[in-house]
């Protein structure tokens, strides 16, 4: 078996140690990757497809039709890009500028606020490699990496041995889970699972801060103070702690205030330092946030207008569709018709849609122009940003005649 490692782009972890056996230009066997990654890698090598009004067309005709739709639109929406490479994302930002479009990705209803706060340096953060080498306490808050990022615990946060953690997880690491249900991750955390009621996270944080400051922690749902103090004591003794923020926590908080205060208190009271890492799901959502931040100073929900940039919740995909503010949509690697609430998604059906996606989705079936691109990371290479902000480059595993997102966007730019 040759030791030529590939990168898996199945989730935000971007595991870079995957061995692949090929047979007739198709992935035959995958080693080390989890089931999510295997499914993602074996998805590749289908035929290319360009559909206009649901009928097969050639590439030039599809691109021409797509360009025409975008040209005729006054305020097109460019959405998706969580599963595109950094290079494709930068092109999409250029395209949105040229079109005076509204640009957003899934992070506006996902972990966008946390990534924004990290980029604005409101929180201390660290890389996953730091965590493997040093971390002694990991808190999974409103996240279930065992299901969403299967190799998170085994590759970085709990089980592996690192430079300063050579004696293994039983002796030197503590994994804590705070969630509303006993998830698979909570099962691994055993006694360190803290179950909060739905929407009870903000209060739990305040009580924990009180516990850390030597006061009696109180909650309206009467969480046992003894258990909270036990948690506070573990955190106080931590030398290198990390909080992995999941969607569960973010959806339960009105703003990031309590989380900022918790991190401040922890860094003040604990032996060592505490860091925050967002549990980004799509493999390059963080990349999109960083690329747009570098370009405009915002992470998502922007509208380009004659060289100026406007930002606000009204330019997020949900609000823009709700207000019917957009009159065409270019959707890249996302399926809003399935993922958004029906009351909002139905407004998409009133406008012409162009999709660029490796899969056939509900959105691509309803699209005026549907372009089936190559699976990025499997059929096309590039670079992406991992959930902790580290850039990872990757090469294609199999050859394909399907164009990558980047190539499609390049051709669209030329046609415009």
């Amino acid at each position: 078996m040759e030791k030529d490692y590939y990168v898996c782009t199945g989730c935000g972890l971007l595991c870079d140690d995957i061995e692949v056996e090929l047979e007739k230009n198709a992935v035959n066997k995958v080693y080390t990757a989890c089931r999510v990654g295997v499914a993602h890698m074996k998805e590749g090598s289908r035929d290319s497809a360009f559909l206009v009004d649901g009928k097969p067309a050639d590439e030039a005709a599809a691109i021409k039709e797509a360009a025409l739709i975008l040209k005729n639109a006054k305020n097109p929406l460019v959405f998706g890009l969580g599963t595109s490479t950094n290079e494709a994302q930068k092109l999409a930002i250029e395209l949105a500028k040229k079109l005076s479009a509204t640009l957003d990705d899934t992070s506006s209803f996902c972990l966008g606020p946390v990534v924004e706060a990290l980029l604005q340096e409101k929180f201390k953060t660290c890389t996953l490699d730091d965590i493997r080498h040093k971390a002694d306490v990991a808190i999974f808050w409103g996240a279930d990496p065992s299901d969403s990022h299967p190799r998170h615990l085994s590759k970085f946060s709990y089980f592996p041995r690192g430079q300063e953690k050579q004696r293994g997880w039983e002796e030197e690491r503590t994994a804590i889970c705070v969630d509303i249900r006993k998830s698979h991750t909570a099962k691994i955390c055993g006694n360190y699972f803290f179950q909060v009621p739905q929407g009870g996270d903000a209060e739990f944080i305040e009580a924990l801060i009180a516990g850390l400051s030597g006061k009696i922690p109180k909650t309206s749902y009467n969480y046992p103070p003894k258990k909270l103090l036990e948690l506070a004591n573990i955190l106080k003794g931590a030398k290198f702690g990390t909080i992995f923020v999941g969607l569960g926590l973010l959806y339960s908080l009105e703003d990031l205030g309590p989380l900022v205060r918790l991190l401040e208190t922890l860094n003040e009271k604990a032996k060592g330092s505490f860091h925050l890492v967002p549990m980004v799901g799509h493999y390059n959502m963080r990349g999109f946030n960083e690329n747009l931040f570098a370009e405009t100073g915002y992470v998502n929900s922007v509208k380009f207008e004659e060289g100026a940039v406007k930002h606000g919740p009204e330019y997020s995909v949900v609000e823009a569709l709700k207000a019917k503010a957009v009159d065409a949509a270019l959707i890249i690697g996302s399926d809003p018709l399935s993922s958004l609430p029906r009351s909002i998604a139905k407004n998409l059906l009133e406008i012409p849609i162009i999709t660029v996606d490796p899969c056939e989705t509900l959105t691509s079936r309803k699209a005026k122009v549907a372009i089936r691109s190559g699976v990025s990371g499997v059929e096309s290479g590039g670079s992406a940003t991992r959930m902790d902000g580290v850039e990872v480059s990757f090469k294609p595993i199999v050859e394909t005649n399907r164009p990558s997102d980047e190539e499609v966007l390049k051709k669209l730019m030329e046609a415009l």
Binding site: Y5, R35, S146, P150, S154, F159, R161, K187
Partner: protein
């Protein structure tokens, strides 16, 4: 898991001794200890009124098929390849500390007990397992780290 009494209830309860045991209760205990299988009870197979019970009892012990010499069973339908067991297994760590012991891809696959293949854990070299051999101990490193109870020892 079930107990001998529950299995006894499903047997013919005639104490015919055809299985070589003195009573049906003794047969149930032998089944539990995996000395005999449901196929060793002739009435259970031959008489149609016991057909349902025969299938039930065979189903109960089905998991032990496919077990390795150490009794390790991987439930492939449950496993999703997180690799916790691969990284936590003490033998894996000792044999490949800079590969799987550090959470990375294995560098010496031939010496490992557990590896991930196509997203599912695969047991090999089970003779190296700490539950096997002369100085065996009841190590449970791979069981307690599995979030979905996909690994079992029988």
């Amino acid at each position: 898991m079930t107990n001998a009494m529950e299995i006894y209830q499903m047997l013919p309860k005639t104490n015919c001794k055809k299985c070589g045991k003195t009573s049906c209760m003794a047969f149930a205990v032998a089944l539990m200890a995996r000395e005999l299988t449901a196929d060793d009870c002739p009435p259970l197979i031959e008489e149609s009124k016991y057909k349902e019970n025969y299938e039930k009892i065979s189903g109960l012990f089905k998991t032990s098929e496919g077990a390795t010499e150490t009794g390790l069973i991987v439930h492939e339908d449950l496993c999703f390849g997180c690799g916790n067991c691969v990284v936590a297994c003490p033998v894996n760590v000792a044999n490949d500390p800079y590969g799987v012991g550090s959470g990375k891809a294995p560098s010496k696959t031939e010496k490992l007990i557990l590896i991930i293949e196509d997203g599912i854990v695969k047991a090999q070299n089970v003779g190296e397992c700490r539950r096997f051999g002369k100085n065996k101990i009841l190590c449970n490193g791979c069981i307690v780290t599995c979030p979905v109870e996909a690994i079992e020892f029988v």
